[in-house]
Amino acid sequence: MGLKLMAQQRHEHSLALLRIGAVWAVLILGLTITLTQLRIDPGYLVRRSDILFKIIDGLWTTIGVSLLSVAIAAVLALVGALGRLSDNALAQGLSGFYVSIFRGTPLLIQIYIIYLGLPQLGLQLQQAGFRELGQLFILDALTSGILALSLNYGAYMTEIFRAGLQSIHHGQWEAAEAIGMTRWQILRRVILPQAVRIIIPDVGNQFIAMQKDSALVSVMGVWEITYLANRSARLDSKYMELFLVAAALYWLLTIVSSFFQSRLEKRMAHAYER
């Protein structure tokens, strides 16, 4: 009986998926027809497939920047969250300050400050005789972009990590303490594995948002999707065509990331299913 019920539920579930898929297909078809009617020229993409592939090439830079930035952001967020949760006033103050600044200012400004503002400081230092130190403040576009994205998203993710760590019942700490584990061991073996499962949906959302925010590094001329689309579009004034390509690439990236995210969530749920 239970099996029959489950089979029926699964059947209804796939039916619903099918219907939703149909709606999507109609929407995409409609969009394509409308765009063609508007004298958009999809043929351009075929005629100038060299441009198309160049933009697609930018995908790898976008993926690379996002992956690296989210990884660094996660490390910053873990450190930040531990700071916020510590009973040390210095650690609390530092992490609170960090979160406040980087959540409180636009990402684009942060990019400008790191890429254009810091070198000013670096030059001054160099003039004062600190050559090596000054050099550290002069960053190329790619590094600046990754640094800004990491710091910005690290601030948002600090709050996510903090909430995740706090959501673990204090009994888990106590049980681990009672068998003699150190704080670091408890964090690594008991708390983090549980917290990670809880924060994966939120971190996934941040990663997906970051892929799109990474478009902002195009202002520094990093050869990612947006920059390449923008630059190529100017040649023949094919803005709609090429920005639609760029948009589609970001969209595809989001869809693929969501897919991997839900697979990861399912895998981590294993221990918690009856």
């Binding site: 106590e174 681990a176 009672a178 003699g180």
Partner: protein, 253 residues
């Protein structure tokens, strides 16, 4: 001839404040090896706090605690040395009301966690020990099951195995059956009774008076953060000296 072995737990003049709340007021207690001491008392009388001070899950405010030869004496405001606390925790096992099993680990992984991370045993060496203790609580066949798939009674038995696997010299139980459905209490008490028979030194906070009567060597009655009276169960339950104890027992029996 027979060198008299000293007490395994010795508490003198223990005080605990939570802010202005004076929760433990000059508590002293001595426990001999192989003894089973059951602590009873009203809600809020400080039973849990007392037990948790013994392995420093709660920081005692002042007093002296000696567990298995390790002594910590604290004046008001002093903190115990960290390595001493760890050493004491290795000699005590604790079982909680809410089990507190690690949900992301299987039953066996729960039991061997301390062996692997704290005692630094190789996994291959820890597994047989873990299996032995799971077997002891009758749950060897659940070794690869995650806590969510265990009943409350089974969870608590795994938690007992986890504490035992560290081979502590004293076991602390804080209301181990209070979170259980009535029909599951028996299986946990049975395991505890078995441990008592084998000579495990145990301090048990519980509301199970039947268990106290049958298993305890000594029953301690606490009220308002102090030990009012302690003695063999038949004395405490049938002829308590203090009117406070009598009043408490009349209400619950």
């Amino acid at each position: 001839m027979n060198a008299e072995p000293g007490p395994i737990v010795q508490v003198r003049g223990l005080h605990k404040w939570f802010g202005l709340l004076h929760v433990l007021r000059d508590v002293s207690l001595t426990v001999q090896p192989r003894e089973v001491v059951v602590i009873i008392g009203r809600s809020g009388s400080g039973k849990s706090t007392f037990l948790r001070c013994l392995n420093f899950l709660e920081q005692p405010s002042a007093g002296e605690i000696e567990v298995a030869g390790l002594r910590v004496a604290l004046d008001v405001g002093q903190r115990p040395p960290r390595d001493r606390v760890t050493a004491i925790r290795l000699r005590t096992g604790m079982v909680f009301q809410e089990f507190n099993l690690f949900p992301h680990m299987t039953a066996l992984e729960n039991v061997i966690e301390g062996l692997v991370t704290v005692k630094r045993l190789a996994r291959a060496a820890a597994v047989p020990i873990g299996e032995r203790y799971l077997d002891k609580v009758g749950l060897l066949e659940k070794r690869d099951v995650h806590p969510i798939r265990l009943s409350g009674g089974q969870k608590q038995r795994v938690a007992i195995a986890r504490a035992l696997a560290m081979e502590p010299q004293v076991m602390l139980f804080d209301e181990p059956t209070s979170a259980l459905d009535p029909e599951l209490i028996g299986e946990v008490l049975e395991v505890m009774q078995q441990l008592a028979r084998e000579g495990t030194t145990m301090l048990v906070v519980t509301h199970e008076m039947q268990f106290a009567r049958e298993v305890a060597d000594r029953v301690v009655y606490m009220e308002d953060g102090a030990i009012v009276e302690a003695g063999p169960p038949d004395v405490i339950f049938s002829a308590p000296t203090s009117p406070k104890t009598r009043q408490f027992l009349e209400r619950i029996l």
